[in-house]
Symmetry: C2
Subunit: 405 residues, 2 copies
Amino acid sequence: MHGYSDAALVLVGDELLSGRTRDLNLRNAARILDRYGIAVTECRTVPDTAGAVASALVSLASPGRILITTGGLGPTDDDLTLRGVAAAASVRLERNPDAEWMIRGRYESGSLDMPQSALVQADIPEGAEPVDNPVGIAPGVILKSRGMLFVSLPGVPSEAEALLPACLERAGLAPGETGREFVLRTWGIPENRLYDMLTAEARGVSLAFLPSPGRVDVKIAGEGAAGFAARAEAVLGGAVYSVDRETGLEAAVGELLLRRGWRLSVAESCTGGMLGSAITSVPGSSDWFDGGVVSYSDRVKIRVLGVPEKVLEEHGAVSRETVTAMCRGVSALLGTEAAVAVSGIAGPGGGTEEKPAGTVWMAAKAGGEEDCRVQRFPGDRNGVREAAVAHSLGMLLGLLRGEPD
Amino acid sequence: MHGYSDAALVLVGDELLSGRTRDLNLRNAARILDRYGIAVTECRTVPDTAGAVASALVSLASPGRILITTGGLGPTDDDLTLRGVAAAASVRLERNPDAEWMIRGRYESGSLDMPQSALVQADIPEGAEPVDNPVGIAPGVILKSRGMLFVSLPGVPSEAEALLPACLERAGLAPGETGREFVLRTWGIPENRLYDMLTAEARGVSLAFLPSPGRVDVKIAGEGAAGFAARAEAVLGGAVYSVDRETGLEAAVGELLLRRGWRLSVAESCTGGMLGSAITSVPGSSDWFDGGVVSYSDRVKIRVLGVPEKVLEEHGAVSRETVTAMCRGVSALLGTEAAVAVSGIAGPGGGTEEKPAGTVWMAAKAGGEEDCRVQRFPGDRNGVREAAVAHSLGMLLGLLRGEPD
């Protein structure tokens, strides 16, 4: 056993305190640490000064604790986190040859010229170890001191997320048993309804609900997790798109398309490209995704997707008739077996009494099967758009599952 | 003058530390406080216990400081924030008749039955004042003590956002002049190069660099900020797309298009819709954006955008010739004066020695002017795609600015 009891985070960055940037690292780190059986018990956000970092670390210091910093590892004058860590651990900074080698390697593998100032990122606390950064330049840094583990991560969320497990494992931690934990990933059911559906029956298991617009992950832990997960999956039916952590809704759709040898196209109005962007965030999506049309104006709906002008005049752009015509139109234009279309009012403006902001029509087509639905999504412009992406992909998933394999 | 020097935040909530919820209150509070000339100098996230709240407040206590809590004002057993505030201020909780009246009023105006337990929300620290909550039930609470101002807000972001200005104004603060800070928002110059270009001349001002893929915001503060900002803008030229906090690159492009009465379309390969999604994240973008084509497969490039097969065969999809044909193709198809096209290798797979992952060709067209460039972007799949969005929009901005008004 590693012997660490809990973790505290120090988020370093003037941009967080000024409100310019909204932190993502606390959430990501908490979720990762949970896999190692470690809970975050406090988090502090401090300015870009070595003194602020050191003072937060000193006041959070406690034997058995993991102290994680994010941010301030870059090459500029306001990147002072490691000075703070060194001060808190009462050691000096020194140029680390392994870190230097990692930084040079990152520039070389990217065929980029390395400015001399980049090497300042190789100055790390005495006794610390650098951990290679697979998605950026600055290495992560781990330091064991007085029964504590200091972990310093870059502030860019994708870099911090990639480095934290590597740092923990370098320090001797291993992810706990995941056999007793299940994650049901769902679409289309609001968090409070899921809560009501599942908690009454949840004896001997603990449930956590992790919502994002249009999607909720349900984490099931405890002795009875396996049985409960199976029962919950049966109750939730088509709303469950995956029972592991890694497969997103987009990838789940892609797997079913690949299995049939079908290809997908999309027609988007209010999402403006967000649906295509979500789909193509999956590496290898070119194996099953052809592309689509962003028909933000009616002109594009008519000229490119072939939506009849009469349909737009009679029913409006946000209607069953228009979104169905968009879906069929893009599938015919690109010659794909499967298609998804979205047309709605993302807000804040553009709503009417009959069709308030948040109203979105969605259509899906898979072979000869079609589905078309309207939803009123809560949230701001971005939330409505993200929910529409999840919902329309969920509808396609349902059609693909309904077809005999 | 109100006499307060700075603010510290205590975010109360197990759901924040467990990673279930991503905090929005720090960002919102910082932006609001900025309007009153108050900077947030530290933020702590603590569990739902009175002890944790009290101990954070005691350690943050300092005369002249505003101490703000968010969360834990509700009626349930884990809503203990005001006990923590009372302990930190060394006073007791007592039932406040004004608070009771506000809570009853909120239930009545919503025609809701009030559970008796709701009135526990009227138990506030001795000497404190309740502030009516326009969008929820629990009142905000302000307490002046030992030269400090304690402000307690609900955790729901919309409620906290509505109550904070009301609480500050009840405590005698007024929104002030902001004028000594400038933000230059730039595209296309890496952070370390910007740093080299600007820091040598930065006397009497402090600079902070806030990077995201393809974009860097430079915050200039201090007495000489105005003059330095003007000189920096001259040095950086077309790389600066905005000199305020609010206007994004997408909106800056939109303003110039609107001024000419021109419309925009996009053709996207590796970005897969991300460019359109970024553009349509701007409310009102339908005034200048028509839509576009996501041509993820060569088939779509040929069939919909009219890229000649011969061009694809001879030069490949990631080439000057293809991206130029995509840009002209979408502009002709949708009949727009302006267009942007992107074709590249987002990675992690798909790269070759000659065209490694991260290689992206981009084209922009505005009236009769065209620009076409290739870049090798660092970062993961998402970072490359985001950088390509910023860079291609920056190229269009350059063309739009180059045209005589």
